[in-house]
């Protein structure tokens, strides 16, 4: 077998139109997978980099003591970009009387490595990004520090013993927020000025960070090489914001799932067209064999043709995919408001391998079948190939497909679960589809003219019809599920942050100010759900052992010195457990409880080995208070609500001096209200968490858009598979149409029948989709989201109608050429 012969064979097949469908299906497979991968790759990169903005870096190392220079050197050796910063609380003074507690962030010139600093020319201005940091001797202040300190741009303020000039209004930094201790009004200064301020003293509360940016591999290598000491921590987006990390993980899974369905659908299209090609070559092979072609020659020839065709299809498919993805990006430019980074190499590799695996796993098996075609077929048409090889070829297709999917998703679990789910749905749908088709046959015998013709056609090609209903039903069902779940998903993803969740916290409210503060908040903003008393106090004894002794022992053992049992903490009391907390051990107290009890946060208790029933003594305002641990609670630190490590039972702390903490929701445009509030009550502290909430919501919104987009593409792939399967039944259809026309049927009759046939297919698929989506959503509502099961009658109309219209028009379009073939040509072609 010479390559020359293979080349000529491929060329002749192509000229004869034999290969067009297979090539088209392969191109479609490669193009759709490449397009989806390219888009997903870029979108995911964009989402990741946008979420990296929340760190102002890809990763950072944080510590309560200066970081050893070795880490920075290690990072530079690996080609990573670094930036150093410090965060600490400090008093800032303006003039003789005015002062304010601020959160100082001291940065070097490289800050931020990701995201932008936004500055304005006047307080409360909208601001614009800037690629600079404060020069030595300069500070940039948060808008509301201007009225609070009564300063203007160009004035000076004192930080520690340094005098620094205010040069800009700071609107936001990418990594604003992070912890409750870091939420005061911001003062941004140059890192080089810090030593001169004299604020760095033993015992000061300082946070040192080394920001890192660069490629994933180098970051991971650095992480692996570090031997972090207690008190030093490696932070990525998953650590900094588990919710954003979770949303990204879910997005990746969903996007991959969409791509995975795309690969599966493309594979089906390739297999369908390869089957048609093989079937059309049964006679061809039989003739070649009578002319002396051995089974191995046949195998080599067809494998060669397939590889040749596959390579050409891959090249064209990659190009088409790239163009297609540009189209997607353009079409969705308005929707996806992320600047997309240039694509990586991987999507093209994914496309190429998809093409080759599709060719080998899906298209080769039917061609392998040709090897066993008996030459006797030239004399007796009824002689087929051997059926044993068919099983082997299906197994090969399954194995190849599975390998491709696992490689594509990089997760065996996700793939297997998806396949299991799809198989389950297909089984149920398959049964339903068969029943529905039988039903339509019954209707068909009652009906007249092209209705009967159409329904008889569906019945005759029942295996294909069932497959088409299944594929389309599944695609529409997934889309319907997503539409129905959209609200539930968003609610879940946005978790405890609905639109008017309190985004500001007020602390240090004196008891006598409490009513006035509440009244003012009610006038200018949306008040949150109640206020909490806060009493400062610390643990002095645990199970009779002094807290100091315990802390000393822990320090001697090299434990985490950052957290001490004897530290002063915020205490509160409550009759009912705060709503986001979950009880993990013990019991919450009853309203008539008279014993002094405490409930502790579970991780805090574990850190110090405290159990339910232990006795704990506190020092509150100089008085000893004896309590017993009644329960342990788990907190949701992402809930954006006040959380307390230690809660007392009512009746213990009431007569100690307390301050209050409250919360409210303030829309962005009303930020100036903070000035009114702060100037009326200068001693209170306001914590702003609105920036974090907004950032999280934006990311989650984009993730949702991306998922919808991918499912839309899956429906498009479904349409293409439909076209391929129409092409696969082309020969039989052509012969049928010719016969009907020879017997006097008009072209209109045939087209009418086709329209009815495909619309019925679509209608059945839509019905299945409605049933499937409704049950899936009902189960999810009931089991996962804890919502009432609601039926959606509109879906029962919309899904079948839309699907009937879609499949009807795509089907008619796909068969338009078939109906215009002159009947004579078909009949003559069949005679040979």
């Amino acid at each position: 077998m010479t390559p020359f012969f293979i080349w000529r064979m491929a060329l002749r097949d192509w000229r004869g139109g034999e290969l067009a469908l297979l090539v088209a299906a392969l191109i479609m497979a490669v193009a759709s997978v490449t397009a989806i991968s390219l888009f997903v790759d870029r979108l995911y990169q964009a989402l990741t980099s946008e979420s990296a903005h929340m760190l102002a870096a890809d990763r950072y190392v944080t510590a309560s003591a200066p970081l050893p220079p070795a880490i920075r050197e290690g990072a530079r050796e690996r080609g990573l970009v670094t930036s150093e910063l410090m965060v600490f609380p400090s008093m800032v003074f303006a003039g003789d009387e005015r002062n304010q507690l601020v959160s100082v962030k001291a940065v070097d010139a490289a800050y931020p490595l990701r995201g932008d600093l936004i500055v304005a020319d006047a307080p409360f201005g909208k601001g614009a990004p800037i690629r600079q940091t404060p020069a030595p001797g300069e500070v940039w202040l948060d808008s509301r520090l201007f009225p609070a300190l009564q300063v203007a741009l160009g004035d000076t303020v004192e930080v520690g013993i340094s005098t620094l000039t205010v040069t800009r209004v700071l609107v936001s930094e990418p990594d604003r927020g992070g912890s409750f201790f870091d939420l005061g009004p911001r003062l941004l200064m140059n890192l080089a000025d810090v030593p001169a301020t004299g604020v760095v003293q033993p015992g000061s509360r300082l946070n040192y960070r080394l920001l890192l940016a660069g490629d994933e591999a180098s970051l991971e290598r650095l992480h692996a090489s570090l031997d972090l000491e207690p008190g030093q921590r490696w932070v990525g987006i998953h650590d900094a914001s588990p919710r954003v990390g979770g949303a990204l993980d879910r997005a990746e899974s969903f996007l991959l799932l969409g791509g995975l369905l795309g690969v599966l659908l493309a594979g089906v299209a390739v297999a369908l067209s390869a089957h048609r090609y093989a079937r059309r070559h049964f006679d061809h092979v039989a003739v070649l064999k009578t002319l002396g072609a051995t089974p191995n020659v046949v195998l080599q020839a067809y494998t060669g043709v397939l590889l040749l065709v596959g390579s050409v299809a891959v090249v064209i498919g990659l190009g088409t995919g790239a163009v297609l993805h540009l189209g997607i990006v353009r079409a969705l430019g308005a929707l996806v408001s992320v600047e997309l980074p240039p694509p990586g190499f991987r999507p093209f590799l994914v496309g190429t391998l998809t093409g080759l695996v599709c060719a080998l796993a899906f298209a080769l098996p039917p061609l392998l079948h040709l090897r066993g075609i008996s030459p006797m077929r030239v004399i007796r048409r009824d002689v087929g190939g051997d059926d044993a090889s068919r099983l082997v070829s299906y197994a090969a297709a399954a194995a190849g497909g599975l390998a491709l999917l696992v490689w594509y998703t990089r997760s065996l679990t996700l793939t297997l679960w998806t396949l299991a789910g799809v198989a389950g749905v297909l089984l149920v749908f398959g049964t339903l589809a068969v029943l529905l088709l039988r039903g339509s046959r019954l209707v068909g015998t009652q009906a007249a003219s092209y209705w009967r013709l159409a329904l008889a056609g569906l019945q005759r090609r029942s295996r294909e019809s069932v497959a088409q209903v299944l594929i389309f039903g599944l695609a529409v069902m997934l889309l319907a599920v997503l539409v129905l779940l959209r609200t539930a998903l968003l609610d879940d993803w946005r978790a405890q942050i609905p639109v008017d969740t309190p985004n500001h916290f007020v602390m240090n409210v004196m008891p006598e100010e409490r009513e006035d503060v509440d009244r003012l908040i009610a006038q200018g903003a949306v008040p949150g759900s109640g206020s909490y008393p806060i009493i400062r106090g610390r643990v002095i004894e645990l199970r009779g052992e002094s807290a100091r002794a315990i802390d000393d022992a822990r320090e001697a053992q090299g434990g985490d010195t950052g957290v001490q049992l004897g530290s002063e903490r915020n205490l509160t009391w409550a009759g009912v457990m705060p709503e986001d907390n979950t009880l993990v051990e013990g019991e919450w107290w009853t309203p008539d409880e008279t014993r002094p009890l405490v409930s502790l946060e579970a991780d805090y208790a574990r850190e110090f080995g405290i159990h339910v029933g232990d006795s704990v003594a506190f020092d509150v305002a100089g008085t000893r208070v004896e309590t017993v641990v009644a329960s342990l609670r788990q907190l949701d630190w992402e809930s954006m609500r006040p959380n307390f490590f230690i809660i007392f039972s009512p009746g213990v702390l009431e007569h100690y001096p307390a301050t209050y903490m409250t919360s409210f929701f303030l829309p962005k445009e009303n930020k100036a209200f903070l000035n009114t509030l702060l100037s009326r009550f200068p001693t209170i502290t306001v914590l702003e968490v609105d920036a974090i909430i907004e950032q999280v919501q934006r990311i989650v919104d984009r993730v949702t858009q991306a998922v919808e987009l991918i499912l839309g593409l899956v429906v498009v792939s479904g349409c293409l598979v439909l076209l391929a399967s129409i092409q696969a039944s082309r020969d039989a259809r052509e012969a049928e149409h010719a016969l009907i026309r020879a017997l006097g049927g008009t072209r209109r009759l045939i087209r009418g029948a086709l329209l009815v046939e495909f619309s019925t297919l679509g209608l059945l698929a839509g019905c299945l989709a409605a049933i499937g989506a409704e049950s899936t959503v009902a189960v999810l509502h009931h089991q996962v989201f804890d919502l009432d099961v609601v039926l959606h009658p509109w879906l029962w109309v919309l899904a079948p109608v839309t699907s009937a219209l879609l499949v009807g028009s795509v089907g008619l379009l796909g068969t338009l050429k078939l109906t215009s073939t002159p009947p004579m040509r078909v009949l003559r072609g069949n005679a040979t």
């Binding site: 012969f5 000529r8 002749r12 009578t290 002319l291 002396g292 089974p295």
Partner: protein, 223 residues
């Protein structure tokens, strides 16, 4: 030239059907010498086409042996049988069996191409001249009449320079006059290439032109 080209010994073919086993051929033995022209005749379903397939190595008998040009093809696998066919055998079929996607010339070039012969075109063109289709080399089968298609098929059959030519009802799909012409051509080329010709036919006139008649009925060769 004299030796035995085809030898069959006690060839039987049994197939499984819904009603049990059905014997299509039973104990057929025959010997065909080089250069002979032999007609296999019999009623429809008598087993003559099955016999032709087995003699040509397209199919295997259930029992018995067949020797074709010195190779015991019943002892060979499909791979080796194909090689024997490629070297020694040519075919002409009732339904022509031209490849639709290939032109007349390409169809005739096929055997040479399968052997890896690069200059297949010249010989093929000469053969098409011989069968009177020198002007129609670039026509596709569907652009040719039935008689023309069969002439292309005959040209293809001789393209591999076979020593034995098997023909299955070569005139079965043609009208009488066209059939006559095709027969003329077949015998003429057969003489020219000194080929052994074995044909299956219903056509008494065609059978009458052969050196020998083998009549088959209910799977048995009549003496």
């Amino acid at each position: 030239m004299s030796g035995c080209v085809v030898l069959a010994e006690k060839v039987s073919k049994v197939v499984a059907t819904a009603e049990g086993e059905l014997a299509i051929l039973e104990g057929v033995s025959l010997e065909i010498k080089a250069g002979e022209t032999v007609a296999v005749v019999g009623a429809s379903g008598s087993g003559k086409t099955t016999l032709l397939g087995i003699l040509a190595g397209l199919d295997l008998p259930s029992s018995g042996r067949v020797v074709l040009e010195g190779s015991e093809i019943t002892a060979l696998d499909e791979e080796q049988r194909a090689l024997v066919r490629g070297r020694h055998v040519g075919f002409v079929f009732q339904s022509f069996q031209l490849l639709d996607s290939l032109t007349a010339l390409e169809n005739v070039m096929l055997p040479a191409e399968l052997r890896g012969d690069r200059d297949a075109a010249t010989a093929a063109r000469e053969l098409l001249e011989k069968v009177g289709l020198g002007q129609r080399t670039h026509h596709y089968p569907r652009q040719l009449s039935g008689g023309e298609q069969q002439r292309v098929a005959i040209a293809r059959a001789f393209a591999s320079k076979p020593s034995v030519l098997f023909a299955d009802e070569p005139t079965g799909n043609l009208d009488t006059i066209t059939g006559e012409r095709v027969i003329e051509l077949l015998f003429e080329l057969n003489r020219e290439f000194a080929t052994t010709l074995i044909l299956v036919t219903h056509d008494e006139r065609l059978a009458g032109r052969c050196d020998r008649r083998l009549e088959i009925a209910a799977g048995r060769l009549l003496a």
